[in-house]
């Protein structure tokens, strides 16, 4: 399984802070993002592309081509606004 964490406005839109997806045929982060479409509201997908969210794999920033393995924790991160 892949544990997907959603934060801030993305979590509000999705209505969930955490989604579990089977690894299935997913090889890279981009596969996961494509797969997410079938599990979350369409607005989330829009927000994702609009806001150029970043992605983390196991709590490190990762590109869309980063490899995925069973048990990975993937964060979908809206633009940060701390400080």
């Amino acid at each position: 399984m892949i544990k997907v964490l959603l934060f801030a406005n993305l979590r509000d839109i999705a209505g969930a802070s955490q989604i579990e997806l089977p690894l299935g045929n997913m090889v890279q982060v981009r596969d996961l993002l494509a797969d997410l479409v079938s599990h979350v509201p369409g607005e989330l997908i829009e927000a994702l592309s609009d806001e150029s969210a970043m992605v983390s794999v196991n709590q490190k920033y990762a590109g869309w081509d980063a490899p995925l393995f069973d048990g990975d924790e993937v964060g979908i991160l809206p633009p940060v606004s701390g400080g």
Binding site: L5, F7, A8, N9, D12, E51, S56, Q59, K60, G75, L77, P78, P79, V80, S81, G82, G83
Partner: protein, 161 residues
């Protein structure tokens, strides 16, 4: 002393200063930056006031990122000690939200490192801020001014010596 603290509780700047001085006895320069919640909406060009911010973060990842930022700052501007405290949860207008402290031998490194840490923290650390007030609730995006402040460190030619 722990370099990075993410917590809900407020912090005491005088106490933090005393701790930093005690742990960096050879320092000749100490710089403290404290960020406070402004009472106006950042998300609207308005004079409407906010009531509070709601701050969340990615536990675990945030602490690592802040530590990485401190380590990067140390490589560029060697210092004796740096500390970051960042609050999360509900923070009201004019309350403290973030503190960066740097103690070093000479003042230039202390100033530069503190600025570097703040700029990177604003654009890289996994915090999210929601404004709540008379105009309702709104998640804030990353600010252009923070992005460009952060980018200046990538371009050595414009870097202050």
């Amino acid at each position: 002393m722990i370099d990075v603290v993410i917590c809900e509780q407020d912090f005491d700047v005088g106490e933090q200063y005393a701790q930093v001085c005690a742990l960096a006895p050879r320092a000749g320069a100490v710089v403290f930056f404290v960020g406070l919640v402004r009472d106006l909406y950042d998300s609207h060009d308005s004079s409407e006031t906010i009531e509070f911010l709601e701050l969340e973060h990615y536990p675990g990842m945030t602490e690592s990122l802040c530590q990485e930022i401190i380590d990067q700052a140390r490589q560029r501007f060697p210092f004796d000690l740096a500390r970051v405290i960042h609050r999360v949860g509900k923070i009201h207008a004019s309350e403290q939200i973030v503190m960066v402290a740097v103690a070093s031998r000479h003042r230039d490194n202390a100033f530069q490192a503190a600025q570097f840490i703040m700029d990177y923290l604003k654009t890289r650390a996994t915090f999210w801020k929601k404004e709540v007030g008379v105009k309702g609730e709104q998640w804030l995006g990353r600010k252009e001014s923070d992005l460009s402040a952060s980018l200046r460190w990538e371009n050595n030619s414009t870097e202050l010596k």
